[in-house]
Each structure stands twice: as structure tokens, then as C-alpha cells.
């Protein structure tokens, strides 16, 4: 009796949900913090564009919400030798314009992606060094010169477009003339600055889209975005400011969803100049000494930053990526707060009275960036490092931080920055931030501290040529242990946690790549 009763209740609830789902929520309106600059999936290789492309276009392999590869237009893939990967393509897939998907479209897309005219940020990054060969209509081989384990993480950025529209320009995509992909939604219209509209594609090969129609509205101003959700003008928003989270939690009409991202907020220190411009009170560059870098790390109370500055919405960090990501170290934990130990290390290094330092930070790039910098400054003052904080808009900061000094060297001595791992594993931050700066090989491109350690370089190099997953994970973990644990090449602060808000009745599955995507929205 009891059993059947609960069954009955379950059935009624299920029926109610079904009716509610059927009657409402046909249209979804999403408030975007940043508008894409084009509909062309090969035009601008940057977050807002790549997020939008996911609805209409698809790559061979699709990164899921945790940036793990899942089958897209390729049903399966495997390396067949050291330098060749084989992709078996999905059969029976149709583009929105009715044409059939096959290997020719893949070859065409890989040719088009790096060569779009006027592209401000090209997709050449992912195509370089790869040759795509059609084996038969539903098999392609991608060859590289060297063994290349990150094949899948690279090609999931290349969206496949139809080769029927081979001459399509970016303008043809924006107007909708050529914007045919294979995704669960088809493109309807883009009114720049006002809205982008997409609608369900009924012949989609996979699970059909949850909404008949999705409208994206760009609302850059964070308070206006929150207000639009509260007013019921949009159903989902991304990049909820931490200051509004408490208020939204108290609102019955709103649900919040939070997830850790692949982005670490960290401090980078000048480790290449004998005399560094923003250090005072000493003739040397104290940041060259690993003991000083360790002391700074010990002086920072990460719990307090997370609790007070981030309102609890962040996770203290001890390495480059949060637990659960590929290639992270098992042993590294967030450095405990230890001001006494920090002072002792400073004294050992020859700076018992500390020194003066300026911390430079952007003020509109990461969540609460300038406030974090101020908190760090105060904490360092307690161990005798008198710290000034200089925060500036991102458009000024990044040029100066990367190449503002003489001969395009980094200008600052001590900076607060963030890094999101586009590949979703540890080689991305290791290679960009900690490997030796070398324009010829492309390593260390964002190594603004110019740290250089041959042993570390060798480990990273070896990892990037090791196709075997288990071995590579171990090599990356070892490299992280060396770079952070021993050398303290950067000082990790915390992993950014992102917040999305929906109206009651909807859910959002947080993505580690921070993207706001309608495909992640579900009905309760």
C-alpha cells in the first residue's frame, strides 16, 4: 500500500512536471556579459564567440562541462601510430541547409579555420602542424610531425562548416546566408548589440534541444544583468557578481548554480632581472631568491581572501588546476598561512627588514581582481614587505605586463593575473606560464616572470610528446611539483568559482571553461 502510494505521488509529480515543461519555457532568454563579435565560428578565437558557436556548430569532439572529450561529429577516435590520429565520422548527419556531412566538410573546415580574412584572433593555433587527410567519406586521418598527445584538446576548437558554402565570407555567416552547422540549434538572426536568436533544429542527430527558441541579449553591465533577471526579462545570466549572491540567494524566484573553473588566480614575480624596477629598499632583486617567493606565499592567508574578498565563492589553490583535472599533482596543497615562517625565510634570504614592492593588477578582468590585490598587499605588509597596489583597466594592464618594458620585456615586478586552461589539463599553464620564454618554440608565451629552469623545461617537453595518458599525467604532475612546490615559479591564490543564476524552474550545469551556454540549461 505504502509503496503504491509513493508511486502514485511520483506519477502525479512527474505528470505535473511534464505539463509545466510542455506549457512554459518554450523560449529561453539568456543575458550575456559579452557579445560575440561574429557568427562565423572561425573568425574570432575567444571565449564569447566560441561559446556561441557551440549551439549552431559542432567540432569532431565536444568538450563536456568538465572539459572531457565526448563524441561530436566523430563517433570515435584513436591514435593509430605515434603521429597519426584516426577519426571515425558520424553517418547520416545533415547540416541545417540540408547538405550531408562527410569527410570533405572536415577537410574544408580545417583549411578555412586558420585563413579567415581580418580575423583578430585566428584559429591557426589549433591547426598548425596538422595535416588532415580524407581516407573515405567517413574516416579522416590527422597527422603531425611529432607525437602529439593534445590532438583532441586542439581539434575540439575547430567547428565544422559545410563545404557547400566554400566561399562563404564572415559577412555571409553574420547575415545567416551561410550560417549552417550541425548543432542542436539553427541560427535565425543577429541584431548587433541587441540580440542573437536561434531556434531548435528538428533533424538534429542527437538528443533534441530543450527549447524551441533561444534569444541571447548582451547586457555588459553586471547590475543591469542582475536586474534584468529579477525583472523577468531574461531567464539565465552568467557572471553573477559576488556582491549580489547573498541577495539572490534570498530571492525565491531565482536559483543559483556554482562551479569551479579551470582558471587559477596567481601572482607572478620578476625572476630574470638583477635589478627590478618596482622593488625599493634594496639594490638587488629579492624575487630571484626562491626563499623570498616562498615567504610571500606563506604570508598570504588564502582562506581569508576566499572568505572575505570572494564572499566564499572561490577555492584556495596550491597548484595550477583544481583537483580532478588531468595532470594535477597529488601532493601539492594550498600553502598554509604562516607569517612567522615567512619572516624567518625572509631573514634567511637576507631581508630581515623586508623591502618595498608594487603589486600591479587589472581591475576589470577577473572576479574582484583589484580587491584581491589590495588584500595581498596588506598581508605582505605584515611580514615587512611594504606593498603598494596599482590596479588598472585590463586594456592598459596586459600590454604593460607582457611587453611594456625595454625591448618588449615585461614592465612590472610583481603582478596578479589569472590563467584558464583552454585544454582542460595541466600542460596549458605549465607550458605558457612556467616554461622558458622562447619565441622560436612558442613556449612560455605568457611567462611574464621569465622564470627559466632546464629541468622543468625537459619535463614539460617530454610530457608534450608522450601520447600514453598515464605516463603523461605523471610527467605533468612531476613538472607541477617542481615548478610550484620546489621553485615557486608562481604563487597560486585561488581557483575562480563562477556563478550562474536562473529563474526558478530552470537549472544550469556549470562549466569549467566558464562558458554561458543554452545547452547547459535544463528544466527542473
Amino acid at each position: 500500500m505504502n509503496l503504491s502510494g509513493s508511486h502514485l505521488v511520483g506519477a502525479i509529480v512527474a505528470a505535473g512536471m511534464f505539463l509545466a515543461g510542455g506549457a512554459s519555457a518554450e523560449e529561453l532568454r539568456v543575458g550575456l556579459a559579452q557579445e560575440p563579435s561574429s557568427i562565423d565560428p572561425h573568425y574570432h578565437n575567444l571565449g564569447p564567440n566560441n561559446s556561441f558557436s557551440m549551439h549552431v556548430f559542432q567540432p569532431l569532439v565536444i568538450p563536456d562541462e568538465k572539459q572531457r572529450p565526448t563524441p561530436g561529429l566523430a563517433e570515435s577516435w584513436k591514435p593509430i601510430d605515434d603521429t597519426t590520429w584516426e577519426f571515425k565520422l558520424r553517418e547520416g548527419v545533415k547540416f541545417h541547409d540540408g547538405s550531408d556531412f562527410n569527410a570533405d566538410d572536415v577537410v574544408h573546415s580545417f583549411e578555412r579555420a586558420p585563413n579567415v580574412p581580418n580575423s583578430p584572433s585566428s584559429f591557426a593555433l589549433y591547426v598548425k602542424g596538422k595535416t588532415v587527410e580524407k581516407v573515405d567519406d567517413y574516416t579522416v586521418h590527422i597527422k603531425t610531425e611529432e607525437p602529439y598527445p593534445l590532438m583532441v584538446n586542439d581539434i575540439w576548437n575547430i567547428y565544422i562548416v559545410s563545404d557547400e558554402a566554400a566561399d562563404a565570407t564572415t559577412g555571409d555567416f553574420n547575415s545567416g546566408k551561410a550560417a549552417a552547422g550541425t548543432g542542436p540549434y539553427r541560427f535565425v538572426e543577429w541584431v548587433p548589440g541587441d540580440r542573437i536568436v536561434i531556434e531548435r533544429y528538428d533533424d538534429y542527430w542527437g538528443e533534441k534541444a530543450a527549447f524551441d527558441k533561444v534569444t541571447f541579449k548582451p547586457i555588459n553591465s553586471a547590475p543591469a544583468r542582475v536586474a534584468a533577471l529579477l525583472a523577468g526579462d531574461v531567464d539565465v545570466i552568467g557572471e553573477v557578481p559576488t556582491a549580489d549572491i547573498e541577495r539572490l540567494k534570498a530571492d525565491d524566484g531565482v536559483s543559483l548554480f556554482q562551479g569551479v573553473s579551470n582558471r587559477i588566480i596567481y601572482l607572478h614575480m620578476d625572476q630574470f632581472r638583477e635589478k627590478t624596477p618596482f622593488v625599493t629598499g634594496t639594490d638587488k632583486n629579492p624575487l630571484l631568491d626562491a626563499r623570498v617567493r616562498k615567504a610571500i606565499s606563506k604570508a598570504i592567508n588564502r582562506e581569508a581572501i576566499v572568505e572575505r574578498v570572494m564572499e566564499g565563492v572561490a577555492i584556495p589553490a596550491g597548484q595550477l588546476l583544481p583537483e580532478g583535472f588531468f595532470g594535477v599533482s597529488e601532493t601539492l596543497k594550498p600553502e598554509p598561512y604562516d607569517p612567522e615562517g615567512a619572516k624567518q625565510l625572509l631573514a634567511e634570504a637576507g631581508y630581515p627588514d623586508g623591502f618595498g614592492l608594487t603589486l600591479h593588477s587589472p581591475n576589470n578582468r577577473y572576479i574582484n581582481d583589484a580587491k584581491i590585490a589590495q588584500a595581498v598587499g596588506q598581508m605582505l605588509a605584515r611580514i615587512g614587505i611594504e606593498t603598494q597596489v596599482d590596479a588598472m583597466p585590463a586594456n592598459v594592464f596586459f600590454t604593460r605586463a607582457s611587453s611594456g618594458g625595454p625591448d618588449n620585456s615585461p614592465e612590472f615586478s610583481f603582478i596578479l593575473v589569472g590563467w584558464g586552461s583552454g585544454t582542460g589539463e595541466a600542460s596549458s599553464p605549465l607550458r605558457s606560464l612556467l616554461a622558458t620564454y622562447n619565441p622560436d618554440t612558442g613556449s612560455g608565451a605568457s611567462n611574464r616572470g621569465r622564470m627559466s629552469n632546464p629541468e622543468l623545461d625537459a619535463l614539460i617537453e617530454e610530457a608534450l610528446q608522450t601520447v600514453d595518458d598515464e605516463k603523461r599525467a605523471q610527467l605533468l604532475a612531476d613538472a607541477t611539483d617542481l615548478a610550484i612546490g620546489e621553485l615557486q615559479g608562481i604563487i597560486p591564490l585561488h581557483y575562480q568559482v563562477n556563478t550562474w543564476a536562473t529563474r526558478k524552474g530552470l537549472t544550469y550545469t556549470p562549466r569549467t571553461d566558464e562558458r554561458t551556454v543554452a545547452l547547459m540549461v535544463g528544466k527542473e
Binding site: S121, N220, G232, D233, V396, W419
Partner: protein, 325 residues
Amino acid sequence: MSVFIIRRLLQASLVILVMSLLVFFGVNVIGNPVDILINPDFTQEQREAAIRALGLHLPIHEQYFVFLKNAVQGDLGISFVFGEPALKLIVQRMPATLELAFAALFLSIVVGIPLGVYAGLHPESVAGRTIMGASILGFSLPTFWVGIMMIMLFAVMLGWLPSTGRGDTVEVLGIHVSFLTWDGLRHLFMPALNLALLKMSLVIRLARAGTREVMHQDYVKFARAKGLSRRRVVLVHVLKNIMIPVVTILGLELGSLIAFSVVTETVFAWPGMGKLIIDSIQLLDRPVVVAYLMIIVFMFVTINLVVDVLYSLLDPRVRLQDLKE
């Protein structure tokens, strides 16, 4: 006369030239757009390629000469971000801004003049004082804050009006306008009111001062002595005379309504030129910033030129002065 106009035109083109120089070099000093536009995963070589693709590897004065050469032919450059002509992007968004500016102008006149005249006729009354007090608030409260408060009140708490965007538009002579649909009007009202508040306060003050002055003039006394109704005295004799300063000032202020609707457009996500320029500054999209400011300078220069020409037509002394020199 023609000497006068030619001289003014030369002055105007000089202003535009200096402006382009200032903006071009100014934006360049802020930072390198490539650092904002490229994917952080780029290698040094790819970053270098991106810089070349945008022509930013050339010395700045060479970039400026290329820009000047194209500008003379009407090409103000290609947006770094959108890859489309900067002029096209701005013109695309111009109707939305113009609509907002004219709606705000309309609101400030139809609300401002009656209130101002009333306050001028009854300066000591409670209503008159309240109107004047409110106009001080209209002057001094920051637009951004007022906008957010209006959204909180009318959209979030009362739910009467939508908080964001432009709503349905209708195409009239190839231009999309929102004031002809109910949905569009609802979207237009709050941003227009927000933008109008400052001008409204200005009109109230002008109308009040004018009314108080005119009410003591001989011709008003005469009209009343003649036995005209109070209604006719106010609506015909007073109103006509206070309109001269109001129209003069509002004509000049229209330019600033169009050019500086930036804050309102950002708060209400209104897809106009102001929002475009703010986004472009953040992304260091130099061609769009330069083109926008040059268009605005051109607009102001044109307005001033027209005013000057009208003056010289009305007042021969202006012309004579020019000839004597």
C-alpha cells in the same frame, strides 16, 4: 558671405584633423589591442602575426598617414573586433541612438515647459517649490544610479516596464524604429526618461526664469488690461516669448544628447552608438573609437557652422567684421 563660409569650413576641417590626431595617438598610448583580442594560448609567433594582420607593427605615424589617406576617401578603417568598416558599424547603430535622443528631447519639452511655466507663475506655492526642488535632483543625481533605481522600481518591484534592450522594431524607410510598436514604446520609455532628466531640469529652470521675467513686461500688462483671459495671456503671449531661449539651448543640447547617451545605453543595454563606443574603448578597437569621435566632432562642427551662417544672415555686422579684417 562666401569668404565667411569658406573660412569657417577651413576652420572646421582643421578641428577635425586635430581631433583625429589626438584620438589616434591617444588610443594608441593606452595599450595594444592585440593583448585583449587574442586567445591567451597564442604563442609569441602567433601574437606577432596578429599584430601584423592589424597593421600595428608599423610605426604609429605611418599608421596615421595610412589612416588619413583612407579617411580622405571616406574609409575610416576596419574594426579590429568585428572586421567590418567602422563607419558601417556606427551608422548601423545610429538610428537607435537618434531615436533615444529625440524621445528624450520630446519628453524634456512636454514635461519641462508646463512645469517650468507653472513654477514661474506660482513661484511661492508648494507645488512651485517642489518642482524647483525636483529639478535640482534632476541636475545632481548621477545618471547611472538613477537608471539602476528606475529599473529596480519599475521593472523589478512593480514589473510594469522591461528592464533591458530595445523591443520590437518596425522598419520605416529602411530604418528600424521602436516607437511605433507598443512593446518598443515600453522599452523606450525608461531609457528616454533617464536621458531626459537632466535636460528636463534645464528646461524647467529656463521656462521658470523666462516666465517670471516676461510676466512683468509691459506687453503682458497691456494684454491683461485689454481684458484677455489669463489662459490666452499665458499660452500665447508668455509662452511665445520664453520659447526663444529654450529652443536655442535645446538645439545646442541635442548634440550632447546624441553624443553622450553612453551611460544610459550601457545601463539599459540599448543597442546604440554609445554602447558600441564603450565596448570599443574597452577592447581598444581604435578604428571604431576614432571614427565615432570624428563623426561626433563633425556633427558639432556642422551645428556650429549652421548657427554661424544663420547669425551672419540675421546680423550683417558679423559679415562686415570679417571683411574688414
